[in-house]
Symmetry: none
Subunit: 196 residues, 4 copies
DNA sequence: ACATAAGCGAGACGGTACGTCTCGTCTTCTG
DNA sequence: CAGAAGACGAGACGTACCGTCTCGCTTATGT
């Protein structure tokens, strides 16, 4: 996660220019999409954003952090963690946007990011902490609640079930397997017993 | 892809020393397994292999090509396609070796290979056809047979179910999630209804 | 010639550290004096100066430029132009210091400087005008006066005689011929008839 | 001096191809004249001469030896060591060709060679041994004979006098001082007392 | 109102790896 | 054996980034 000040604005001195944040993230995203992680250079991003390097390092501690945030924003990975009391609805609300994106224009960006993560431990670390972790936790939470409500049998393997949707989605994306409109529906049908 | 000679041996001059190929690939593989892609440096590989840098660049045009080939050679895959008439047994026989390798020393190797495949369409294509495709086909075949035998309900989503084990295994591997000894058992428990 | 800034200090950004200039030139000079031109390596100079390679290449475009400047700075010349009325004394006073330096630690430095001048016409030009020219003129002046005083015969070839001492000194230096303590004395004995 | 077989031709096997000698020396000379010593690379010379590298190293032990011989041949530095019994004549016969060459088209080649010698200790060493040494020895020999014959006074400083002509010639060449047609004559007039 | 503290563009700095080049040696095959 | 071709170990070259550190300047705020 970036070194974002969450609010403070109690700090003395000149405040950070929000236009810089935008310009930097935009530039980073463009370069990443064009050249991949290795093609991103801080000097290059700074130049393209019309910004000094210090202005970047004041916000992000490393190239990895910058790229993570850029991709997260750029692909508008949404961080909503829904909890409506209906497992199907919640899972759909969390997973369908990912599927849509992986079937659309962002596909290349997202898979490229997934790939680069493996090549750059820093990147992986950063992303796991800032994004994946929370989602995983929430998925398990939703599954546990569903068991309590009786939507899933009591002996359900929570940790495992919670991984099935993202695992299948990414698996299909990475291997180029087709994901039809009813893809998520089929997954949920497999995981959630039909209501009697 | 590497600058491999087509084996002609009609070229004049001193032939390439095959011992160098081996030493370089071995060294690259070791460093890669220990430090990951970013940790591989040509100077380091050259030193460890007891070889000049030029000897590496004579064979591969860049670090990326070298690593791809090293991993491809190092990660030899086994391709048994069992069919004993028992789904649990067959899936175990197909999937457990993969899990074992992904939990063992080859883990980084295999995951990085999975990653590099994404960057080299040719490699991906070839690998899909020669290995993955057959396995996928066989898995579906096994699932279909299990339905016929009544081990799985008749309305089972064959294509989807068949992807779940590899998807979950790779998902855990790629995200560094723990895979305990009973990992495959839990997957099978989830997929296959308990025998009454 | 080096990429010297004209001292403007109107440039934006962090100014160059003068201590680096000094350290690099010093290190280059030392290596050069010890190992000769071919023995100078940028990595070596950088290491000895405690400086990154980029810091050198930011200032000089190549090894050659660096060495030229280092030597030029290191080989400061003295330019006394004596005129006591005694040819032997004046010539000794002008030439002995040169011999001493060429026999001492500065030998390699000075000869290499003489060499580099040949490769850098600009340097040669400037040096000829500012140092050599005046010395040559003064030598001829001294010889002419000596003729008037009768220390030398009236038909002496002024221009030629005036070149003999420096020519012989540099010739011996460049070819590594020995220059004993009485070297200058022998030259003068050859040129100036013994007083009756 | 090169590893020339001076004669042998008693060796078994295929004799060396004299055309190779010529092609290599020619190529080396061209590159040297165009690019200077540092610009000469064995690979480059081999390619330009249409010859394998081994064929060069079979004849010369190093780049320095090759370049020395190439320049010596190319500038047709003649190795005649005349001894007619007349000092003026012998000195003229030895020195005038050098002056002519330094005033003519070979000037650049020769001075460049003189310069590069200083930069490359190997080169200097090679050249001193193979060319300069013998000439210097012979000059001293001639001077000694002239003293015996009474052409020079008995107290003449042999070693010093012998160096004056080459020292003055090279001094003038390197500093761009004019050398008129009577340049050598003036030197000899200075050194050799007029015949009574 | 104006000092203070931080932001900003620019770019220097010590490092490290890159990919290229040359050296002088070694190894194959063909005449 | 000579010769053409070219692989080999070694190591310097000059470039490009990284992440940090000054510079001189600008911009809010808080007293």
């Amino acid at each position: 996660m970036a070194i974002r000040e969450e609010d403070v604005r109690a700090r003395p001195g000149r405040p950070r220019d929000p236009a810089c944040d935008a310009a930097i993230l935009q530039a980073a995203l463009e370069v990443f999409a064009e050249e991949g992680y290795a093609g991103v250079s801080i000097d290059g991003v700074a130049a393209r954003a019309g910004v000094g390097k210090a202005t970047i390092y004041r916000r992000w501690a490393s190239k990895a952090e910058l790229v993570v945030e850029a991709v997260r924003c750029g692909a508008s990975v949404d961080d909503r963690l829904p909890d409506t009391g209906d497992l199907r609805a919640d899972l759909t609300s969390m997973m369908q946007p990912l599927i849509d994106r992986l079937r659309g224009d962002d596909a290349k960006l997202l898979t490229m990011f997934a790939v680069e993560r493996q090549r750059e431990p820093e990147l992986q670390e950063q992303f796991n902490q800032s994004v994946i972790g929370k989602k995983r936790e929430h998925l398990r939470h939703l599954v546990a609640l569903a068991i309590e409500r009786g939507e899933l049998p009591p002996d359900t393997d929570v940790e495992l079930i919670a991984e099935v949707p993202p695992a299948l989605i990414w698996h299909h994306a990475l291997y180029g397997l087709p994901m039809a409109d009813d893809f998520l529906e089929r997954i949920l049908n497999m995981l959630i017993p039909a209501r009697p």
